[in-house]
Symmetry: C2
Subunit: 443 residues, 2 copies
């Protein structure tokens, strides 16, 4: 079954779309995507996923098979099914470029399009921005906590499906990770791929030393040997013996991986064994339930670990596996709109975010205002699509990665810690407040 | 870029595969997938994802483009890249059918295949079984907690990517959910789809009553109106007025949805309004941060809510967004194997799980033994693939759903609660223990 992606949406988007078409409600709708509230242990977020949103919006079409499926549900009229044949996204998109740091209530994407189009794309746009921004934000915490260390995404196997696997590789690299273990992510995004060896490889051999030697001969410049299958310290001595024996052949052991036990303590023992034996160049890599908290612990105790495989806890964002995000109608047919449900009230109108920098070059405060207003600082949302087409070629992922690096450098020191932090200052303009009050009076 | 799925794997699977081929290690490997440990708030798990594993194993091939990508990495020999051209999975698979309840250390899938094949598929097999089993297990808790209620998967937008969105719809339906809001899941899996309306629809209209009427006319038999955009109680009265006015035209209001506020209290008020007005048939549907704990709360207070939209917290398994699962080598070339890393030791050999039922028809205990042993009860792993081909047509999802229903009915009462429970009895045979000891002596 081929999928165009058009049905990656909630059924209600389609029933509402039919109702809009029947009522002739084709006026311009303005929707913005934002996060309502930070998880308790986050002090900032990193925007990611825009490129996949643009690709989706440019490509979304209904195939004959998809229309036939919808026709069979019993909810749609023949006229609606026919109208879907010509469906295209023809709207405008403004957004924060990928890698931009953002805060609650700040829109990171605005869609301005005929109502039925803007409604249909809600589910998938959210699905794409939510996941990658969540992962990039989690990964950024790792990057800040372990400066200078190699950080590799190891999480494909427990990511929530294949797309989560490859997109978490992408989002973590954007946020500053060194690379991924997922081959498909390397192919799709041109990002660096890394690999070590598994316990099964060691176990398949009758003895560990033999497993190490075979692998080193097969990967003469890249062998990273897993040394915790039986006894880590004994295995480290075997690595030394092997490194001595293979050096004359031009085969070098690149490093070892620890995957269980007290990582800091074992790393110190193993480092001493290698250094004493004259192999200071053999690196130590660690994995196993690594997240930013474990990294803080190991880095602060000075564990001689050069790199980390960061898996499940990063790409499921294990402590907060979702963000309280929304894609909300801000304006329809020229009239501002606002949701007033308890605890879910939103700011109406088309908005922009301006960011001021302090004399130290760090973020000194943001202003959330209407696009028609002007505030001090740099406007963060920029035009990315007009009339359903992207305005320029896709941004190289490396460029987003460089932006993320600069942005993370710009974070106020107080926001760089892992625990709960004071809120960053986001001022809401009088223009936005007055508009909200006007909308409330009108409804 | 077309993807065959072959690169949905960790790079190390490929480097190990190259080493195996170079060494002529083509012997038969036996790997089993199991969960090491239950999350604190789970007392059982539900197997799911087998059908996607079979589809993957039957289809996995390397395209020319994928081989060209690997050739460019600098880790692989031309001979290996050439060998990938003919790659096929030719192994055998035994597994617990989808919907089977299982416990820690019990394999739910065994792969017996030439070592390079069994190694390559590790990452994707885990990725598929882990996610769906995790979601089915979470969804089953909701089903047990809210018997007789309509439960609909609402979570696509915050699922971790598109595949997680559609597979969580599938896994939750398998576990007993009524359906999903995700259109693509309906198309792919033939499962029921449901939809209501969004706040944006109400807000796009100048007044709420007009929005309700237009939607009801567009969905004359299915209109489920969202009534919390402004004032829930006032909106409920509007629904009554509308229902009265449209009844003569044969248009019926199917129900209403509450999405914020005190759901139990609002449901009681709204129910009273409908009943007093002579509309006992208008159903009440609730959504917003629903999970099994919220369901327990609402059901136990007798809230008159007929159905629930269960989203983010179910399909991200928010309290435990991953399982401690593994795909471990149990035997290579006729020799049993075992991992002995601290806290990660595994039982060696090809294993089977037998389940005994008590006189009440409920599970009375499992036995984990070697396939060569015999124990009381029903063996849970059955043959599903031989020589790389499935043994029968795909099982209809409805059949797995029926199995899950029977299995959940068979759970001992003590395991049906939501909080931490005593461990279910899984006995390990003397045969397994002796084999483990023999492996330990040999290495």
């Amino acid at each position: 079954m081929t999928s165009s992606g058009a049905l990656l949406t909630d059924l209600y988007e389609l029933t509402m779309m039919q109702a809009y078409l029947e009522q002739g409600m084709l006026g311009t709708a303005v929707f913005e995507f934002f996060v309502r509230k930070l998880p308790a242990e986050r002090s900032f977020l990193v925007a990611a996923g825009l490129e996949q949103v643009i690709e989706y919006l440019e490509a979304v079409r209904f195939t004959d098979e998809e229309r036939a499926y919808l026709a069979g549900i019993g909810r749609f009229t023949p006229a609606f099914i026919e109208a879907l044949r010509d469906f295209r996204f023809t709207g405008d998109v403004d957004a924060m470029p990928e890698g931009t740091v953002f805060f609650p209530d700040e829109p990171i994407l605005r869609i301005v399009a005929p109502m039925p189009e803007a409604q249909l794309v809600e589910s998938r746009v959210m699905n794409l921005l939510h996941y990658q921004s969540m992962v990039a934000s989690k990964a950024a915490r790792c990057v800040i906590t372990a400066p200078g260390r190699t950080l590799v995404d190891f999480g494909f196997r427990r990511a929530h499906g294949a797309e989560a696997g490859v997109l978490s590789a992408r989002a973590s690299w954007l946020a500053g990770f060194t690379g991924t273990a997922t081959a498909e992510a390397g192919r799709l995004f041109g990002m660096p791929v890394y690999g070590t060896m598994a316990h099964s490889y060691v176990q398949a051999h009758d003895d560990e030393a033999r497993a190490f030697e075979c692998f080193a001969r097969s990967q003469p410049h890249h062998a990273l040997l897993l040394i915790d299958t039986y006894d880590t310290v004994r295995a480290a001595h075997r690595v030394v013996d092997l490194a001595r024996r293979l050096a004359p052949e031009g085969i070098h052991i690149s490093g070892v991986r620890l995957d269980s036990g007290d990582l800091g303590d074992l790393a110190r023992q193993v480092r001493a064994i290698f250094d004493t034996a004259g192999f200071p160049g053999i690196t130590i890599f660690a994995s196993g339930n690594i997240d930013e908290f474990k990294l803080r612990d190991l880095v602060s105790q000075g564990a001689p670990i050069d790199g980390y495989g960061v898996g499940t806890r990063m790409n499921t964002s294990a402590d907060w596996p979702y963000l309280d995000c929304a894609y909300k109608l801000q304006e329809y047919d020229g009239q501002p709109r606002r949701k007033r449900s308890p605890e879910k009230a939103t700011w109406p109108g088309r908005k922009q975010v301006w960011r001021r920098l302090g004399v130290d070059g760090r973020f000194a405060g943001d202003t959330l205002g209407l696009v028609t207003e002007h505030a001090k600082g740099e406007p963060l949302l920029v035009p990315v699509m007009r009339d359903g087409r992207r305005l320029g070629p896709p941004e190289p992922l490396a460029q987003g990665r460089e932006r993320a690096r600069t942005q993370l450098d710009g974070l106020p020191a107080v926001l760089r810690g892992l625990d709960e932090q004071p809120d960053y200052d986001v001022a809401v303009t009088a223009g936005v407040r007055e508009l909200a009050a006007a909308v409330d009076r009108a409804t």
